[in-house]
Amino acid sequence: MGPQHPMTHGLWTLKIKVDGETVVDTEPDLGYIHRGVEKICEARDFTQITTYCDRLCYASANTWSHSYIYAAEDLLGVEVPERAEYIRLIAVELQRIASHLMWLGAYGPDIGNLSIMVWCLREREMMMDLLQELGGSRMHYNFPRIGGVKRDLPHGFSQRAQAKLKLFLNRIQEYEALFDESTVFLVRSQGVGYAKPEEMINHGVSGPNVRAAGVDYDVRWAHPYSVYSELDWQPSVERSSIKGADCYDRYRVRVEEMRMSASMVLQALDKIPGGSETYHEPGDPKIIAKAPSRAPEGTYGSHHFEDSRGESMFYLAGGGEGRGKMPYRVSIRSPMFITIPYAAKCMIGYKVADIPAIMGSFDPCIGETDR
């Protein structure tokens, strides 16, 4: 299934060996959009790298730029004001909803349900409007800064966000109805693509894929960062069967995560210190702290982050060009780089027609895989 294929969700090749209709062996072939971001970032300032990190996984840009910013703050030793952490949390969770909507909008057509695509993209436009108010552009916002955020919440953002999220929470029920009452969807996704939790953890699969198997691992509570502990939330875990998590469980986890993220954003808008109506000018110390711009040799920074697809991580080694203004090495951990070979293994034993269902349910995003 070559690089140009409507169902591969990105540019990669999946070589399949079949026996009749049954898949016998698979081999993924990546690297079609390998851009060498890790090498390019060695010639960029710390603030310039944020723009590259947005473009790593383009469906979920905010989570990747925040993932880098936390690692850069670890390297440079910066403490972030609390209001900025709340604003970051709002941006990250809205982005998580948008990413899952994009996934659901692409997964429906894989199964055969084309109407869900326009519904989900309609809701995603709502989320992108909110993110556009925060960040300034539709997709690559370059929103966080080292030490805080670029801008405060705009005037009236809180009301608009609450209205849109309440509408969104109603609409999720429509999607669930569309899928759960569709026999075709249930037949094509239940009992297909079993993934055992022990194997998944040993592989390094994390995020919604592993939570679908009943394992309660989420970086947001296990290696805490940001202000998630101030909010009332639970990781969304699904009850799967003893054979493992199938595609239906992975779908349900993401729908529950969308609900949970929406409720987190509503709580954060209530609890933000200073209130959601106060506006601080960009550069105000309440939303951004002063950060050094050089990192001497011998220092390093790393941070694990819960991306929409799993656990992402940045490792930065200081002491590069410009007497430390640029990193010496930027190393990016992509959850999909590990999950795609595992998902390819999950397909063995099923029919060729199940391949898009299984592949889509793991939510591949090739941008972060190929870096």
Binding site: G10, H34, G36, E125
Partner: protein
């Protein structure tokens, strides 16, 4: 194969088609009908293509999401006749929406060659125009126009869906301006257009 000549004659439909084609071709050339049919056919294809450009279902990178958004509810591109097809044999437009890496250079040229004439290429986004933010990369070509002739450039990173629809509009204007079917050699009057460059 055997040396002696076959002692039967094979009725081969391929030979029949070729012979008839050659004879008709000569006749048409002699009576100057071939040029007329060529021009009329070109005008017909051109008229047909103006309002129904079928791009290929190719999503390379981020601009592919804006392409999907352009085809979705808010910026419906289908009302302009733009309908995405999966097979290159059924497409008119190759919409390149991301950086072309060295590994992908060969497949994209193959996709371009598989598309039947008359065909067009739109380079969407900075990465396809000139390598974009990755112009220094060891693995990315500096723009898709190093391997494929491009007709319309749409700048932006990513360009808004409105810009993409405007790009299709500019391509339509270019098709109308050409009037016939583009030949293999693209003369200077068919210079590439840049959206936003009025």
């Amino acid at each position: 194969m055997s040396d002696e000549p076959p002692n039967f004659s094979v009725f081969n439909s391929r030979i029949l088609v070729d012979t008839v084609g050659d004879v008709t071709d000569e006749a048409l050339k002699a009576s100057r009908m071939k040029e007329v049919i060529g021009v009329l056919g070109g005008r017909l294809f051109n008229w047909g293509q103006r309002k129904s450009l079928f791009p290929l279902h190719l999503g390379i990178k981020c601009c592919a999401l804006e392409m999907a958004a352009a085809g979705a509810s808010r910026f419906d591109a289908e009302r302009f006749g733009v309908f995405f097809r999966s097979s290159p044999r059924q497409c008119d437009v190759l919409l390149v929406n991301g950086p072309v890496s060295k590994k992908f250079a060969d497949p994209i040229v193959r996709l371009w060659e598989q598309m039947p004439e008359p065909k067009w290429c739109i380079a969407m986004g900075e990465c396809a125009i000139s390598g974009g933010p990755y112009f220094q990369s060891y693995n990315i070509l500096e723009g898709v126009d190093t391997v494929i002739p491009v007709d319309v450039y749409i700048p932006g990173c990513p360009p808004r869906p409105e810009a993409l629809i405007d790009g299709f509009g500019k391509l339509r204007e270019k098709i109308i301006r050409i009037g016939g079917v583009p030949s293999e050699v693209r003369p200077m009057s068919e210079a590439p257009l840049i959206v936003g460059d009025e």
